[in-house]
Amino acid sequence: MFDLLRTYLTFLPDPVTTTLIILIQIIMIVIPIMLAVAYLVFAERKVIGYIQVRIGPNRVGPRGWLQPIADAIKLLCKEVIIPDGADRFLFVLAPVLALGPALAAWAVIPFGSEVVLANINAGLLYILALTSLGVYGIIIAGWASNSKYAFLGAMRSAAQIVSYEIPMGFALVGVLIAAGSLNLGDIIEAQRGNPLTWFWLPLFPLFIIYFISGLAETNRAPFDVSEGESEIVAGFHVEYAGMAFALFFLAEYANMIMISALTSVMFLGGWLSPFIAFADVPVVGLFFGDGIHWFVFKTSLFLFLFLWFRATFPRFRYDQIMRLGWKVFLPITIVWLVVVAAMVVYQVPPWFAGS
């Protein structure tokens, strides 16, 4: 498709065409993510609604399907208020810093066997670096707001994200040892086979810990102490209104999709099909073969877990969050790293027989 475009654009100099094509590819990734974010918010309200025996939003459009559009228009039309005594530049910069890393990380996610924006060698490292940058939006927002609630929320969030990044990083190291590569495409290829050869089984504790740390990294319930409505109003974004607030909202949901996508890539084989045996059957083979629809399906599964957890669990107390991260997750990940390394060295079948 892009080769065809390139032949039409031969009158332009080569660097310009390349830049143009990369821009088109970025837009092709960002727009579906933004739509997914909008409808994830809708799904969240619906799912939590049904869990609480309500219907959820059902007034705007058929069965409420236009609700996210209405919300977006409302937020766009609202006034952005900058409080007195706020650091104006940082106050405006903070939402951008929150959203930027959440979108930039998508550059290395493989959607299909050849469908990836930047197929870089150090993909896993890049993901780890970018997910650790999201915290700046929150800290800067909390500080620049010049409000004690916002500041308390920012401090809680900073401590929490730095703590949970460590078990998360160790879980990624486990994936790295198992796959023998930092490239996300290679990590998926290393899981090829059937659902039992995917890494969720040999790396089971890391799989669970990665997803729970992901909950903590995105400040989602039950780890949402940085918002903590009942204690510190709304935490770090209490002073934000209108589109600036909407950007924080977008960043939170984009991060959720990001964590779900990463979990499915690293532990559930990304775009690999669980029914690969039926891939050669004529018509249904298209569905049972590998493809982006499996990636989307697995990602949605984890997104549903995010919503389910929010409706189910009460908020963690702060000291217990810290205890869970440092005293429970960290030792388990370190022990399992040793186990994974041993499994790789002794080539335990079926996962590491050929490595």
């Binding site: 660097p15 870089i120 150090a122 670096a129 700046y136 800067i140 500080w143 401090m155 900073a158 994200i161």
Partner: protein, 199 residues
């Protein structure tokens, strides 16, 4: 000018700008944020040198972890800037001399004689499949395994020392112990007493 040269000058000027802002801005939080910008700019330069592992690790470790804690502390400090800036003019001449001395000695060490193109030669362009993460790992765990392990042990000692210095074992916390909470059985909490009903 080639694209690489343009990219280099953009990152290099951003780095110099950010570094000079770190020491000149009044607000310590702004200074810390400029330091982050300096880290990003130097990471960009390292990417240009095809050292992607070092570049991403710089962002991961310094920007992602160290500077978060740095900001954490700086934001909570109540710094009186006028007291801090007292005597600035008085110490300026001697500071200038020290800075000049450092710059000259740095120039002598990393200058043209030791690191110029005729002394080192331009780096060979590696193919796209070359992974310098793998190469670094290979060297670190073979040729340099003892220095690497010694550095790790020194860091461990530093961590233990830092914790030992700040630990106050006599402090009594009233926090409940989750292990004991989870291990509680029904029999530990209630006792059912059978009594004859009143007549």
């Amino acid at each position: 000018m080639s694209v690489e040269a343009i990219v280099f000058y953009v990152f290099a000027s951003a780095l110099v700008f950010a570094a000079s802002m770190v020491i000149t801005v009044r607000n310590p939080v702004h200074a810390a944020l400029f330091l982050i910008m300096a880290f990003f700019a130097s990471a960009g330069l390292w990417i240009l040198l095809e050292a992607e592992f070092l570049a991403i690790t710089l962002v991961l470790v310094y920007v992602g972890a160290v500077m978060v804690l740095f900001l954490f502390v700086v934001m909570m400090l109540d710094i009186n800037l006028t007291v801090l800036r007292e005597g600035f003019a008085r110490y300026l001449p001697i500071a200038f001399v020290v800075a000049l001395g450092m710059m000259v000695s740095l120039g002598l060490i990393v200058g043209k004689d030791n690191f110029g193109l005729d002394a080192v030669g331009p780096a060979a362009k590696a193919p796209a499949s070359y992974s310098n993460t793998e190469e670094l790992g290979r060297v670190l765990y073979t040729d340099y395994v003892f220095p690497f392990e010694i550095a790790a042990v020194i860091l461990l000692v530093a961590i233990i020392a830092a914790i030992a210095l700040t630990l106050r074992p006599t402090r009594q916390t009233k926090a409940p112990n989750p292990d004991r909470q989870v291990a509680v059985k029904r029999g530990d909490r209630i006792r059912i007493v059978k009594m004859d009903s009143e007549k």
